[in-house]
Structures are given as structure tokens and as C-alpha cells.
């Protein structure tokens, strides 16, 4: 056989096998989480507080609520700031130096390991108020959301066809109307995609929460207090080594995995159908 053909066949076989084998960890993790998490799932799991150590039963209701509350607060801070910085980058930064300074800061913020954002929030908020608080968690997670939302907004607005802008200018519309009601409106799909993906991303973030909201065995009664979250519950319970808690950790993992993968799948399917923006 022609050695060139043999080589071709060899490369083809090896790269095919490698490519198929990376699906293995995904299937394994998903199957594992479903199999080990299902036994924990029942009505009580969603509605009850964690049982005290050593006792069976109980649920993770406060952690589900806590994750939702922390995510909502982070989104309230992070998404508007991300959108505003994106609008500025795309529409208003005529000065190249200011643009690249702000762009570099936001890009760098995206590169900061999340544990360092947690450490920062701990230092500037938790240590000042003197106790763990969900507000500090929202601050840290908002810093994670800002860069991707900003980038999605900027790219979405930049890719709006020049004809649309020209048409708006020809109508004699003021700049703010063109920016918000024309260009931003056209780019909205990209902004929503970016925001949802960053929401999914923070739903799984754990390291910053260890230093900020920590954990609580009770229902949240306010936002300026320690708060349970699914992420920290998974970490604490998995590391505890106590059978009942480990099962709960798998159940919580199943819930978290469902949320994250669902958002990702839906967003990607929708954004593919819209062909970009």
C-alpha cells in the first residue's frame, strides 16, 4: 500500500478516535450525576432545610433559594454595568487611548481567577462589615458577569449594519435615540445571549462564595447575611464524607447541572437560529 495513503489512514483513525473519546467524560459526568443524584431528589429535597449532621431526611430548599437570590442580585449589578460599558465601547469612545484603557481593564477583569475576586470581596466587604454576607457574593459574581456582557453588547452593536445607522441619522434622530432605540434594539439578541450565558456561568461559581456568602442552615431572611447556595452546599457536603450528605451533594449537583446545561443548550439553539444577532 502507498505509504502516503497509510499515513493518511493512520492520522484519520487517530484523530477520529481522540475526537470521539472526549465525549466520554461528558457522558460519564452527566450519567454519574443523574444516577447518584436521583435518589436524593424528592419533594422534601426542594422544600426543606438541611437536616442536622447525622440525621437523615431534610433538603436543600434554602440553598436553591440562596443561589437564585445571589444570582438575581449579581445580575442586577452586573448586567446593567456590562451593557453600559459595552455601549460606551461601541458608540461613544472616540478617544483611542481611553478606549484601549477601558477595554484592557475589562478584558483583564475577565482573566482574574474567580477565587481572587472572592478574596477581594472578602477583604473590602466582609472584613469591613464584620460578617459573611450575600451582598459581597453578589459583588464578586457581578464582576464575573461584567466582561462577557460588555463584550456581547459591544460586538452586537458593532455588527449592526451601517445602513440601519444611516437610515436613523437620515431621519434626524438624536444620538441617544439612535444608540438605544435603533442600534441597541437591533443588537438586543446578542446582549440577551451574553447575559444568559454569564448567568449560567455564575450559577456554577463556587470559589468566590466560600469567602463571601459562605453557608447557612436556615432560610434567608435578608440579603446582608450569610446565605446558603447550591454550589457551597455541594462542596461542603461532598468534602464531609458523611454518606447522607454526600448523597445530598449529588442531588444538588444534578439540580445545578440541569440549570446550567439547560440555559446553555437553549441559548445556543436560539442564537444559532437567529444567525448571529
Amino acid at each position: 500500500m502507498d505509504p502516503r495513503k497509510t499515513k493518511e489512514l493512520f492520522i484519520r483513525t487517530v484523530t477520529t478516535l481522540v475526537s470521539f473519546s472526549v465525549a466520554l467524560p461528558l457522558l460519564w459526568i452527566v450519567a454519574d450525576v443523574i444516577i447518584k443524584g436521583m435518589p436524593a431528589i424528592n419533594f422534601e429535597f426542594f422544600t426543606s432545610l438541611p437536616a442536622p449532621f447525622g440525621e437523615t431526611g431534610g433538603g436543600v430548599g434554602n440553598a436553591v433559594l440562596g443561589t437564585l437570590v445571589i444570582n438575581a442580585m449579581s445580575s442586577l449589578i452586573g448586567i446593567p454595568l456590562g451593557i453600559l460599558t459595552g455601549i460606551y465601547q461601541s458608540e461613544y469612545s472616540s478617544n483611542k487611548k481611553v478606549y484601549s484603557l477601558i477595554r484592557t481593564s475589562i478584558d483583564s477583569l475577565a482573566g482574574v481567577p474567580s477565587i481572587i475576586l472572592g478574596l477581594f470581596a472578602f477583604t473590602v466587604i466582609v472584613m469591613r462589615v464584620g460578617h459573611y454576607t450575600a451582598l459581597a457574593a453578589a459583588f464578586a459574581l457581578a464582576l464575573i458577569m461584567i466582561p462577557p456582557v460588555s463584550k456581547a453588547t459591544e460586538e452586537g452593536m458593532r455588527s449592526v449594519p451601517i445602513e440601519i445607522r444611516e437610515a436613523a441619522i437620515a431621519l434626524g434622530l438624536p444620538k441617544w435615540v439612535i444608540t438605544l432605540k435603533v442600534v441597541f434594539a437591533v443588537a438586543k439578541g446578542s446582549v440577551i445571549t451574553g447575559s444568559l450565558l454569564s448567568f449560567a456561568r455564575i450559577s456554577g461559581e463556587t470559589a468566590p462564595l466560600l469567602f463571601t456568602s459562605l453557608f447557612s442552615y436556615y432560610w434567608p431572611t435578608g440579603i446582608n447575611e450569610p446565605m446558603a447556595s447550591l454550589q457551597v452546599l455541594i462542596y461542603n457536603y461532598a468534602m464531609s464524607g458523611f454518606g447522607e450528605w454526600v448523597t445530598k451533594a449529588w442531588g444538588a449537583s444534578l439540580l445545578l447541572l440541569l440549570i446550567v446545561l439547560l440555559i446553555n443548550t437553549v441559548v445556543r439553539a436560539v442564537s444559532k437560529n437567529n444567525g448571529g444577532y
Binding site: 493518511e8 472526549v22 483583564s108 477583569l109 441617544w176 456554577g204 470559589a207 454550589q231 462542596y235
Partner: protein, 308 residues
């Protein structure tokens, strides 16, 4: 009539500017906070924080070398495994894969990248670690354990396991980026090679690989950056012990990284000022490495996009 729009014009403009400046300002503030909180450690520990081997808060000794080496070793080890995998996937994707399979591959990559790291952690801790211990580490330690880096006892939780989990976490990131870069190979060059009777592998090796090389290196650097800063998955599977690499050089022994060290000690360190400062300085070291790595990768990717 004229006044309202011009007011709104400046409101939108300066609102957006204020948001941008405050985000940039927060980033600067983060850097300065870490730096100023590191000063006690920089003055009292000196180079010991970077080069010392012993970490004992009760004695006031803070040597960060094992954690720094743990971070470097696990990241480079995982990159060494993830890079060939990613290149293979990119080659299969761009040269051989039918369209349907392509979309499956990109979905798999997206979903793998989306799985929260704490779930990688629980999977590594409760599923992979016991399997790895009995079916891989123990047999190897029993046969070639006389080589120090493979010596037992095998704990399961180890720097080796941390590197494996990191490999799975960074492969989708590197693959997605290098698939993008491979896909940008100029079509006329590829078609020219095919017209000369080249096989797909020859086209790939002579055209696509040289074209994509710089971009793939940039993708690898970004993957490395991700591995350096990963916390939860590592903290859950690395065994959190300071014995590696000075008391035991074995890759099967538990170890620490900067992130796992900070995660396990930082909140309790508020009562020990020097420990608090030392951990902050370790975090600062990690921050500087991560930022430099991202900057280099960004510059390389921009050059690929601009000059390609």
C-alpha cells in the same frame, strides 16, 4: 424641545462613560488592595514566600514554594495532555468530520466547558479518585514504584488526579479556539494542494498547521491561564497536603496549589495578620501570572486575526 434630547444625549453618554470608568477603577482597586495587603508579607517574609518550603502559621513561617510548584506542575502537566488532544480534535474537525458530527463536537465542547467546576470536583472526588487509586496508581506503584515519582502509597487524591481533571476542563477551551483558527486556513491554498494530488493529512501538515501554529500556541496559553486559576475542582481532588514535592516527589501524593491553599486557609487567617498577608501575596503572584498570560495570548490572537 431642543433641550430635552440634548440632555438625554449627555445622560446616556456620561452614564455609559461613568460605568466604564468605575469598572476600570474597580479593577485597579482590586490590584492595589491585593498589593497593599501583601506589603507585610513582602517585608517580613521577603523571598521566603516564593522560595521557602515550610508553611507553619503557628511559628510564623510562610514558605509558598510547594503551592507555587503545585500550580505550575499541575497546569503544565494538564496542558501537556490537553494540547495534543485539542490539536487532534481540530484536525479531525476541519479535515475529516462530516457536518453533522461537527455540530456534535462543538456541542460537546460547549457543554464540557459549561459544567461547573464544583461538579468536576465531586465527580473527581467520589467517582474517579477510587477508580484511579485501585486500577491505576496502585498497580503502577507496585510495579515501577521504585522510581520516586511513581512511588506509593497511592491515595487517589493527588496532584496527578488534579492534573487529569484539569485536562478535561481545559481541553474544550483550547479545542474550540484552535478549531476556529484551523478553520480560517485560506481555501485557495488548500485547494491548490489538493489539485497537486496531496492527501488531506499533507494539506493539513503543509498548509493548515503552519498557518494555525501561532494561534494554537495562543489558545494553549489561554488554557494554561485557566488551569492556573482553577480552584474548586483542584481543591476537591488534590488532597490538600504540603508534602509534595519536598517530602514526597511522587505524582501520586497529595499536594497543594496556590488556589487550594488560599481556598482552605484564607477566611480563617484573619486572626493571624502575617498569614493573611502571605496568602494575599500568593494570590497576587497568581494574579500577576494570570494577567500576563492573558495579555500575551490576546496579543498573539490579535496578530493572528489581523495579519493572517
Amino acid at each position: 424641545m431642543q433641550k430635552i434630547p440634548s440632555f438625554l444625549d449627555s445622560a446616556v453618554k456620561y452614564g455609559a462613560l461613568a460605568a466604564s470608568i468605575s469598572v476600570a477603577g474597580i479593577f485597579l482597586f482590586l490590584f492595589l488592595t491585593l498589593f497593599s495587603n501583601s506589603i507585610p508579607s513582602i517585608t517580613l517574609n521577603g523571598l521566603d514566600l516564593l522560595l521557602g518550603k515550610i508553611w507553619d502559621p503557628n511559628d510564623g513561617v510562610f514558605g509558598g514554594l510547594p503551592a507555587i510548584l503545585g500550580t505550575i506542575f499541575s497546569s503544565i502537566f494538564s496542558l501537556g495532555l490537553a494540547l495534543p488532544l485539542s490539536i487532534s480534535i481540530s484536525i479531525y474537525y476541519t479535515e475529516y468530520a462530516p457536518i453533522k458530527i461537527r455540530s456534535i463536537i462543538s456541542t460537546v465542547m460547549d457543554l464540557l466547558a459549561a459544567i461547573p467546576s464544583v461538579i468536576y470536583g465531586i465527580w473527581g472526588l467520589w467517582t474517579i479518585s477510587p477508580l484511579l487509586k485501585t486500577h491505576f496508581q496502585e498497580p503502577i506503584a507496585a510495579t515501577i514504584g521504585f522510581i520516586p515519582i511513581f512511588s506509593g502509597p497511592a491515595y487517589g487524591l493527588s496532584i496527578f488526579l488534579a492534573s487529569l481533571v484539569l485536562t478535561i476542563m481545559i481541553t474544550p477551551i483550547i479545542s474550540s479556539l484552535s478549531i476556529d483558527i484551523f478553520s480560517k486556513t485560506p481555501v485557495h491554498l488548500r485547494e491548490g494542494m489538493f489539485a497537486l494530488g496531496a492527501t488531506r493529512w499533507e494539506v493539513c501538515r503543509k498548509v493548515a498547521v503552519p498557518f494555525a501554529k501561532r494561534g494554537v500556541i495562543a489558545a494553549a496559553i489561554l488554557g494554561l491561564g485557566r488551569a492556573l486559576g482553577e480552584t474548586m475542582a483542584v481543591a476537591m481532588v488534590i488532597g490538600n497536603s504540603y508534602i509534595w514535592p519536598f517530602s514526597s516527589v511522587s505524582i501520586f501524593s497529595p499536594a497543594h496549589t496556590i488556589t487550594s491553599k488560599v481556598a482552605s486557609e484564607f477566611p480563617e487567617s484573619v486572626s493571624n495578620a502575617l498569614q493573611f498577608s502571605s496568602l494575599t501575596e500568593l494570590a497576587l503572584v497568581l494574579l500577576v501570572i494570570s494577567l500576563s498570560i492573558n495579555l500575551v495570548a490576546d496579543l498573539m490572537l490579535k496578530r493572528v486575526e489581523g495579519g493572517g
